[in-house]
Symmetry: C2
Subunit: 202 residues, 2 copies
């Protein structure tokens, strides 16, 4: 039987740079990533089943009703969520999974699976947060205001995360290495490795 | 005011290879090491104040009586211990300290300072443990028997450690990297970094 895998949740406010960091972690580390579902339209270059499972709102709500979403959140009019069975299957198969989801989803995961390890990504300071949210330059003022409000709400969840990684300006590589250090360290917890002790007392 | 440093304790049975791993960690990572005190005679090449503070048994026992030892243990007729004030001063100055001590000492530290982070180093299996203890070839059968007994006792403390790192044959570099991942990850715990959240709500 496989040893059950670990579930890591990475989130952070818009402007934290978490997407860039998670992409770098993907390149460097042998972890599995869960593909989220969303009702938003694909952006140019995004591929169904790779970046997201794209689905209609009706289909998404049917999955929620059937208890088939591990977590979900509504954001700027669209639904985002994690199909449950895929995560459970991967963990049972011994895979270590990273979920990149928002704080609202992270809290749902922590409630359902307290052993999940939560990592919060933050920009170096408030000014950088604001500049990064505005700097993308592709959204209306309303969307920016909504993002700022959401970022503030997410920061309130700080203490419910296990780890915090600050994404310093120009420091994506360092931030990615810090995330990988957390992933590797958590695998070494004694309470997850009781079988090692048994080898000496068998 | 400096943020208080972290105290890491690394131990493992004789034959675990912890000394080699800790030496490699010293080379790679910017952590401070506490110099232990001992009543055993210096081995060739060892320097007083660098490898150990060498002292007489009377002087050592006087320090225990005065409460000036953070932890101590007797082993093969000699006393080994950690002078308390040096550790407290370093932590207050914001330094992250690594103590390489035996399991008996590690338990004393955990009792006195529950926030200490304990890392247990183990060889890959029982056969390797025995071979490594015998392989040194410099001790009598009595000393070997005492080391085996002590190793067995130490393995009983497994669950009181926070992390376990297996020193696979030929895997010192990997083991050192795992230890460094733990050191780096623990610095990122949210409950030690509340001031980061404050920057966004100040």
């Amino acid at each position: 039987m496989n040893k059950r895998g670990l579930l890591f949740v990475i989130s952070g406010p818009a402007g934290s740079g978490k997407g860039t960091i998670v992409s770098r972690v993907r390149e460097l580390a042998p972890f599995d990533f869960s593909v989220s579902a969303t009702t938003r339209a694909p952006r140019p270059g995004e591929i169904d089943g790779v970046h997201y499972h794209y689905m209609t709102k009706d289909a998404f709500r049917a999955k929620i009703a059937a208890g088939e979403m591990f977590e979900y959140a509504e954001y700027v009019g669209n639904l985002y969520g994690t199909p449950k069975q895929a995560v459970e299957d991967a963990l049972d198969a011994g895979k270590n999974i990273i979920l990149e989801i928002d704080a609202q989803g992270a809290m749902q995961v922590k409630d359902k699976m307290p052993e999940a390890i939560l990592i919060f990504i933050l920009p170096p300071d408030y000014e950088t947060l604001v500049a990064r949210i505005r700097g993308r330059g592709t959204e209306t003022e309303d969307v920016i205001a909504e993002r700022m409000q959401k970022a503030h709400t997410e920061l309130g969840y700080f203490e419910r995360y296990d780890y915090v990684v600050v994404n310093e300006t120009g420091g994506v590589e360092q931030a990615a290495e810090n995330v990988i250090a957390i992933l590797n360290a958590e695998k070494l917890r004694t309470y997850r490795n009781g079988e090692i002790q048994q080898k000496f007392f068998g």
